[in-house]
Amino acid sequence: MTETAVEYFEDVVLGRVHQSPGITLTRAHVREFLGLGGDWPDQTEGDQPVPDMLPLCISSGLGFRAGPPLLVLAFMGFEWHFLRPLHVGDTIRSRSSTVTKRSLREGGVIVEARDILDQRGEVTQSGRLTLLIAKRPPTRP
C-alpha cells in the first residue's frame, strides 16, 4: 500500500479526536490579517486584541501539520461561537473530531466539531463545520 499525500472520505473515523500542534499568535499575524481583511479596529495603538476571526482561520491550517490532510472538495458552512478573547502571545491549538459522515455519489459530507484551546487548555472558540470530502479514486489495474 502506497502512502498518500491526502486522506479521503473512506479514511474518516467517527469520533476519533485530532489534536493539532500549537501556534503562538504574534503581532505579525494580527497585522497581516488586518491588512488582508481590511477590518481595522478603531484603536490601533497599545495592547491590541487578536481579531476574532484570525484564530478560526489559523485553525484550518493547523491540521495540515498533524498528518495527511483530508481532500476537501468544498467548505459548505459552519456555526461558530467566540467564547473568550485571545491576545498576542497566546498559544492556540485545535481539537477536532468528526461527529457525522454521510456518503454521496460524488464524495461525502462530514460534520466536524472543532474547539480552539489556549495554552491553559481553556476552550476559546468552538463550533461545527460541514465539509464535502473526496472519495478515494479507484485504483488503476
Partner: protein, 153 residues
C-alpha cells in the same frame, strides 16, 4: 448633551433598528489575496493552491478560501456602515454557496434582523443577516452574525 455622549461616532444598541440595511463597496479578490491567506492560515488545500489539479475540478480553477471571503466581507461591511459600540462578536452561522474565483469582485450586504435584551442592562444582542455577492449579483456566501452591543447609559 446627547451629542457629547455619542461623540465617538459609534452607534449604541438603543439607536439600532430592526430592518436597517447596509451595503458595502466592492473589492476584487486577487491571486495575491489567496496566496497571502494560505501563508497566514497554513491552509494549503489544493482547492486554493494547485492550479493544475483544479483544472479538472468542478470549479475549473483555484478558488478563494471560504474564510478569506468571510474575512474580506467583514472589512467591506465596516466601510459600508457606521460602527456599532460592539462589546463582543458572539458567533455566526454561515453558508458557502458558491466559489469566489480570482478576479471576482465581491460586495457585502447586511440587514438587522433581531435585537435581544440580555440580563445585563448595559448591553444587548444585535443579529445581522449578511450576504456576499459577486459581480453578477450571485450570492456566494450568506449567514447571520450575533454581536453584543453596548447600550447608552
Amino acid at each position: 448633551m446627547l451629542r457629547l455622549m455619542t461623540s465617538d461616532g459609534r452607534r449604541y444598541f438603543d439607536e439600532i433598528e430592526v430592518g436597517e440595511e447596509y451595503e458595502s463597496p466592492g473589492r476584487t479578490v486577487t491571486e495575491a489575496d489567496i496566496v497571502i491567506f494560505a501563508g497566514l492560515s497554513g491552509d494549503y488545500n489544493v482547492l486554493h493552491t494547485d492550479a493544475e489539479f483544479m483544472k479538472s475540478s468542478i470549479f475549473g480553477e483555484r478558488i478563494a478560501h471560504g474564510l478569506l471571503g468571510l474575512s474580506i466581507q467583514s472589512g467591506l461591511l465596516t466601510r459600508g456602515m457606521r460602527p456599532y459600540a460592539t462589546i463582543a462578536f458572539l458567533g455566526l452561522r454561515w453558508k458557502f454557496k458558491g466559489p469566489i474565483k480570482i478576479g471576482d469582485t465581491i460586495r457585502a450586504c447586511a440587514k438587522v434582523i433581531g435585537k435581544k435584551e440580555t440580563s445585563k442592562p448595559d448591553r444587548g444582542i444585535v443579529t445581522l443577516s449578511r450576504q456576499v455577492l459577486n459581480q453578477r449579483g450571485e450570492v456566494v456566501q450568506e449567514g447571520e452574525t450575533d454581536l453584543m452591543v453596548a447600550r447608552r447609559s
